[in-house]
């Protein structure tokens, strides 16, 4: 287990170093950094001095090392567009994305597992067929169309919910939260459904097929024969044994939720880091792009690592089984 953990940790570090290299190359080679910082009126001597001051004459590897050192301390440079430190901008917008992602993930997990178990137990009921058909549409609809559809229905036609923005936010020690006002909660509904729907269908289909598989097993039949309550058989015996693949997929999907938030945030003009990233691409704001890339990779790598470790917590068989550890 220790060897496995260490190997995974080493791999994660290599991935982060490579991503850092990509981010650094963006800084260094996309456009001329000095050109981006100085105005039209400049002398060659000024340019030369800035090159020297920024350390651009140092060997590549030294520059890369310095870049990583600054990034680890949370210093990602200054946004070309907003002329403020990137770290400040991200710290300001991150709460919006994190709250949206948390609510979406909660929705996806709750309804995904709930519907999955329901459709597996009542395999042939009309409600199950309805849920399955709707989920098929959910998978093939692009996220942004779902968002527009919801806006049209609930914001334009019915006028029940706001179509953009976060509503009123409360500032709790620098963290602006949606959770403390009614309009904040109302503003959360449509974006979180849009963001969570795809993940929900994925989890639901996975839980359903795993449940169907497990319910066929002998020990389920035996549990029924022992006269255990239906609820106890379904949840204590069946659902518990479907959890390993569900945790894997759900864990990996958490990262995707933050990445896909880019689309949802654009549709709903949600002031989070995803919207920031899209704007930075439009304006070729390299420091913001590089910082976003670094942050999201740290997150993805951390999630992958955590999911690997979770296997051991969930499935005791893996703790001794070496072939299982290679998964």
């Amino acid at each position: 287990m220790l060897a496995f953990t260490l190997r995974r940790l080493f791999q994660s570090l290599v991935v982060l170093l490579v991503v850092g290299l990509v981010a650094f190359s963006m800084f260094r080679f996309v456009g001329d950094p000095v050109d981006n910082m100085m105005g039209q009126e400049r002398t060659d001597a000024d340019v030369e001095r800035l090159w020297e001051k920024l350390g651009l004459n140092d060997p590549f590897i030294v520059q890369y090392y310095n870049f990583l050192g600054r990034a680890v301390q949370g210093n990602f440079g200054v946004s070309y567009k907003q002329a403020r430190p990137v770290a400040d901008i991200i710290a300001e917008q991150a709460p919006a994305t994190l709250e949206l992602a948390a609510v979406s993930a909660l929705l996806a997990i709750t309804f995904g597992i709930g519907f999955g178990v329901f459709t597996a137990i009542r395999k042939d009921g009309w409600a199950s067929h309805l849920i399955m058909s709707v989920s098929l549409i959910g998978v093939s609809l692009p996220t942004f169309l779902i968002g527009i559809l919801l806006i049209y229905l609930f914001a334009v036609e019915l006028g029940w919910l706001p179509s953009f923005g976060r509503g009123d936010v409360v500032n709790v020690g620098g963290w602006k939260t949606n959770f403390l006002t009614l309009s904040g909660w109302k503003a959360l509904i449509l974006p979180s459904i849009t963001l969570g729907l795809y993940q929900m269908t994925l989890i639901m289909r996975l839980v359903r097929s795993e449940m169907l598989e497990v319910l066929r097993q002998d020990y389920i039949r035996f549990a029924r024969a022992r006269g255990l309550k239906e609820k106890s058989v379904n949840f204590r015996h069946a659902l518990k044994n479907t959890l390993v693949p569900v945790i894997t997929v759900t864990g990996l999907q958490l990262g995707s939720i933050i990445a896909f938030a880019i689309i949802t945030e654009t549709v709903f003009q949600w002031p989070g880091v995803g919207l920031l990233f899209i704007n930075s691409i439009q304006f070729v704001d390299i420091p913001v792009m590089a910082a976003y890339l670094m942050l999201i990779s740290v997150m993805f790598v951390a999630i992958n690592f955590a999911v690997d470790l979770l296997y051991f917590a969930v499935d005791p068989r893996l703790r001794t089984d070496r072939s299982g550890a290679a998964r």
Binding site: V15, V18, M26, V30, G31, S140, L141, P142, T143, F144, L145, I148, I151, Y152, V156, S163, G255, S256, A259, F260, I262, I263, T266, F277, I278, S280, I281, Q282, V284, I286, M289, L293, I296, S297, F300, V301, N304
Partner: protein, 305 residues
Amino acid sequence: MRDTITRAWRSDFMWTFRRSPVAVVSFFVVALLVLSAVFAPLIAPHDPFNPATLNLMNGFSQPMEPNAFTQEVFWLGTDDQGRDVFSTILYGMRISLFVGFAAVLFALILGVTLGLIAGYKGGWLESVIMRVADVQLTFPAILVAMLIFGIAKGFTPVHLRDQMAIWVLILAIGLSDWVQFARVVRGATLVEKNKEYVQAAKLIGRSPFAIMLRHILPNVLSPVLVIATISLALAIIAEATLSFLGVGAPPTTPSLGTLIRIGQGFLFSGEWWILLFPAITLLALALAVNLLGDWLRDALNPRLR
């Protein structure tokens, strides 16, 4: 000639095709959409990108109703500048399909080449290629495509950005999508390279290049075809998403995604048709290609069912 057609019609492949209504319908939907995109200049009632044919008085015409000022009738209505929505959809679909096909072709060539090399040569080359693939697979394809688009945009001179956008888009989506091809081809190559016909080809002294291209490649093509079809649906949706987000096809050469982005602006003022018809077209296209891909996977590889 006639003989070949009859033989093809009676083949197993065509038999399963005829037996699947979903596949037949999807095929005809895709064929109809592709043909109408290819022949857009002949079919479209207007050339939406020739300002000389536009009349601002035609702006915001309702679908199927005569315009209040000019009495002209537009099947699917017009947008704010009086552009016929039906025509913009036909031209937009051209861009969407072109980007989709080109991106998949690019991903296919790159992925198949790297997969063949990794599988046949092995060694450090294989480790490098597959490691890169693993890392890329950790990130969602759409995020990778956005990043590549952003970086490539940074490299293009400002005055060329709109013209180059389509090619940058193809590059970005293609690069975000090669991993699937490489993994499948490598896996199949590992199996094929130990078979006797490859040994025989080696013995008679064919070059590794020729063995990969002429002997192994034809035998690993059927899974590649399946992935290509499913990738096409994904590429079309990826293109639409990027264009919708404003980091794809520019308004001067709008794709379906750009049209939906434009249409979204008129949703609140009641001009629903500017958004709805491009959205339905995109949906039909993506869904039909997807269903066709699903069917193809079952038909070519019964073991996967």
